[in-house]
Symmetry: C2
Subunit: 438 residues, 2 copies
């Protein structure tokens, strides 16, 4: 029996809501974004002789930052350090990331190395800024766990990475933070705020960002990293609040295999350069539009991780609606999204409603099986407890042959909903995650 | 790339605790067991022209019964009926099971058909017993979901299945209830109670049983069915209490893919024929030994399901100890046992402690990563937060090349523990569950 090698899923254009479509435009991710410079260099941490393995985001002054970190209790040294830095100040001057080594499970030496990474960036940037401390630096590492960070190679590379900073280097940065990713994932958009209430003197803001994926191959450990940069001016409190919400609907709404890594980090940096020096931060309708645009970009970058995931052949946009509460909606959605039987059915392009309904039934949420309705690819295949027949299944099967399609479950119990993004489970996924020794 | 077809895992001899080893002996599962007759026939429900698809357990008088049913809220008609029957009386006269059709998601017609199955057994057995009603019959169906039960074929087969009842027919019954199982799974033991406190005049009891497995291939829906029969005399209350506990440690302690089915049923039937007519039921030490022996048999039959599972190449006996409570121990164990990354590492025979420790970290139980210890195949590979080096990993890798091995996690927080049985995740599993249309 031979195994097909599947082509990678495409990265489709940004999906915009009705309120955004008039005001938003997707841009090349290398479009310069006021207030930020990016770089990616080869420091020799990865074995491959040319692979980029150190990335830097530098803010021309400091940017306001909000962060969401892994909830795993086993955390790598750079996560502990970055979390502490952000708790002490929301002003960030630079983000330094290496790939090829996760600096995880490395004990006290790991803590020391993470701090050394931050300090050597401070040393190198001090020329241009005098009141700079390690607390203004965010640090991340991704790659092999257990092995000590080759800290000398890394600190030796800092002058080079600083000197290669450029305004249109986001894609290069996105490449430098890759581990098992197949492609760099970066996107940008501009949002027109002309005449919008709460925009002040800001007429247009840009948001750009990148993500790296959730593929886990031992001896690498999965690290989902995501960075968004914007020239919008946003108050620190608003930024943290909106970022938690945006991440809930994007980076925390994707699942490949239910394993959260010890390094996951998602940051947003706001330079404020779209607004005059004394201009006020975004408010009211302008802030709402900004949140929506941020969410659209973050969701696209999150789903790009799935599209680039190990052995992924299909992505489902799974919505559970009609739940009593959003917690219950999420609980049902997670049970479906993580079911290996649902995921293998997706792989087989099989509208197997029995597996989905059985997952709903065991989710722990009290449901009434006789009122549940299920659509796949827009086709109703299970209607208030009754199977809709072979023809409906055939239509759903056709939709499931595509790269991406919706799965919608209506519990008919209330008005809350939840959308998660999930993938099929392929033989290829198993092979990648099992066969590293072969 | 070609895929190896793996040999089925062997069914090893019963594993007996120190207190049982002197008193217990494994027997052929076709050894007659006083009070029970078994049959399996071909009724034409399965397409294959010779496959057995209707099984019957008949009690020579009635037996005391205890049951554990699926906790899924979406349940098949026979489960609803059987649960109601057992709630109305603990006395059971027969168990009728068909394979090939699950009678699930079949609406009111399904309820009617389940009752018809029970009633036609009553009709056929009435000759020998006068005070018999449908409530004394337990019913189960397993196979295709959504399709109506071919009830005429089934009721037409009842006279044949009744007339072929025999004392040494357990293996034939076990074969008739198979769906995607590769082999029938049946076992028996005898327990010497001579001189044991609480045994009364009973000197020896037998326990025999069978199970069918958790493989789920659409259009079949997984149904785990397990039936134990014993000639011990046990009070109805004691039987229900011990059965819930035994199932927790056996049939509810195995996991292939975390999906519970809508049909799962586990029953124990006690004929009491090992004891004279007016003899008292087992008590004290005799009851404790009986519980232990039942647990040993049930655990073996449960793990046999994994050994016979779709694409299963390795079985791990996963113990989490040192937890604060047994609930927390189970929560950690389930997170590890269901992690696709841990399961693919098992498939790759890779002692990937990072994936196991990361699963512990995200289990939702508060842990201290710096005191966690992990052994695989008896070899310590992670000791109080520190990696034990390549040599230890190599020893663990060798153990993981075997069919079955222990994985032990010590949280060092308390004295509670939990043992679950889990399998690797193979490309073969995905293929079986995805490719039914090909």
């Amino acid at each position: 029996m031979s195994e097909p090698t599947h082509p990678l899923l495409p990265f489709p254009p940004l999906s915009l809501s009705a309120s955004l479509v008039e005001r938003c435009q997707e841009l090349s991710s290398d479009t310069p974004i006021p207030g930020f410079l990016f770089a990616g260099v080869h420091a020799g941490i990865k074995r491959s002789s040319e692979a980029l393995d150190v990335g830097l985001i530098s803010c021309t002054s400091t940017a306001t930052c909000a962060g969401v970190y892994t909830q795993n209790q086993v955390v790598a040294a750079p996560v502990t350090l970055s979390r502490r830095h952000l708790a002490s100040t929301t002003q960030v001057r630079a983000v330094i990331v290496n790939s090829g080594n996760a600096n995880a499970c490395t004990g006290e030496g790991g803590d020391r190395d993470a701090l050394l990474m931050a300090n050597s960036v401070v040393d190198q940037l001090l020329e241009s800024s005098t009141s700079l401390s390690a607390a203004h630096i965010q640090v991340a590492s991704t790659g092999v766990i257990g092995a000590p960070l080759p800290i000398k190679k890394l600190t030796d590379a800092i002058p080079m990475v600083v000197s290669s900073l450029e305004s249109s280097g986001l894609k290069r940065f996105a490449t430098a933070i890759m581990t098992t990713d197949n492609r760099p994932k970066s996107r940008a958009l501009k949002l027109n705020l002309k005449g919008v209430k709460g925009a002040g003197e800001t007429t247009e803001v840009m948001i750009a960002g990148c993500s790296k994926g959730a593929g886990m191959i031992h001896p690498n450990m999965a690290t989902m990293l995501s960075y968004l940069c914007t020239d919008a001016k946003v108050a620190a409190d608003d930024l943290q609040k909106l970022w938690v919400e945006v991440c809930d609907h994007s980076f925390n709404a994707i699942t490949i295999d239910g394993d959260t890594s010890t390094n996951d980090t998602a940051l947003i940096l706001a330079s404020g350069e779209s607004s005059p020096l004394e201009g006020s931060p975004l408010q009211d309708e302008a802030l709402s539009l900004f949140i929506e645009a941020t969410r659209a970009l973050a969701t696209a970058l999150a789903v790009d991780i799935l599209r680039d995931g190990e052995g992924v052949e299909h992505v489902a946009h799974l919505t559970v609606r009609g739940a009593r509460t959003s917690t219950e909606a999420r609980q049902v959605a997670e049970t479906i999204a993580l079911s290996p039987l649902v995921k293998t059915a997706m792989n087989g392009e099989d509208p197997n409603w029995g597996r989905i309904i059985a997952a709903v039934g065991r989710s722990g949420v009290e449901v009434d099986p006789s009122v549940i309705t299920l659509c796949i690819g827009g086709e109703k295949i299970y209607d208030r407890g009754q199977w809709c027949g072979l023809e409906a299944e055939e239509v759903a099967h056709q939709a499931m042959c595509g790269a991406e399609y919706p799965i919608e479950v209506d519990l008919s119990l209330g008005v809350s909903d939840c959308t998660l993004y999930t993938t099929d489970l392929s033989a290829q996924y198993v092979r990648i995650n099992a066969d590293y020794r072969s």
